[in-house]
């Protein structure tokens, strides 16, 4: 049992467990934030498992999730815009936690991988994760005014 496997297990239990609870129960604002956080957690777990089992192909799953997770949240933000206008969810702490965790995991993996194309790929995934989290969180909080979207229609 390596440290990577322990880290992945801890992240899965401590991060994804509460996320499932948050998605399944409570008000809409909390659910939508929890599902966004869930994609980030699973993405990081995939990265850690790729390192733990020495299977680089798992990194591709993390890459796909880093792209599709925030995109899915943006779809929710758009579809639920009317329901979220009264009390938009502000998840600054959770976004900061997800972004920091992404930076820590990606930095550790870069150190373990060493210089090369794999490192560039990891940095790309890390950048996508952090940017995706910030953008999705801002969209959920109503950061992109409706006027901008309406004028384009």
């Amino acid at each position: 049992m390596t440290g990577w496997l322990v880290a992945a297990s801890v992240l899965l239990a401590a991060g994804f467990g509460p996320t499932v609870w948050g998605v399944a129960t409570g008000p809409l604002e909390r659910r939508v934030v929890a599902q966004n956080f869930g994609t980030s957690v699973v993405c990081l777990v995939m990265l850690l498992l790729a390192q733990a089992y020495a299977r680089p192909s798992y990194v591709d799953l993390a890459l796909v999730l880093a792209v599709l997770g925030p995109a899915g949240t943006l779809v929710y933000a758009r579809l639920l815009a009317e329901d979220l206008t009264d009390d938009p969810p502000h998840a600054r702490v959770l976004t900061a936690v997800a972004a920091s965790a992404a930076v820590v995991v990606v930095a550790a993996m870069c150190l373990a991988t060493g210089a090369g194309r794999a490192t560039v790929k990891l940095l790309l995934i890390g950048g996508l994760l952090v940017a995706g989290n910030v953008i999705a969180s801002r969209a959920l909080a109503g950061g992109f005014p409706k006027g901008a979207a309406a004028s384009r229609d």
Binding site: L124, S151, R152
Partner: protein, 58 residues
């Protein structure tokens, strides 16, 4: 004339970016992969410019 240069420059910039992304993300780098990647990146670069213009003109 200036418009053609601008269009070529933009497509070239997209192409460099997308080909770089391809080369980073593939598993093994061999000539066939490079050829396919460069070709796909060119198509995607033209599409990217079209999408950027479609957004900008609204």
């Amino acid at each position: 004339m200036g418009r053609t240069v601008a269009a070529t420059g933009e497509i070239l910039a997209w192409w460099v970016l997308l080909t770089g992304g391809w080369l980073v993300l593939i598993g093994t780098v061999d000539p066939l992969e490079c050829f396919v990647g460069a070709g796909s990146a060119l198509l995607a670069a033209v599409a990217a410019r079209a999408a950027r213009r479609a957004m900008g003109e609204r």
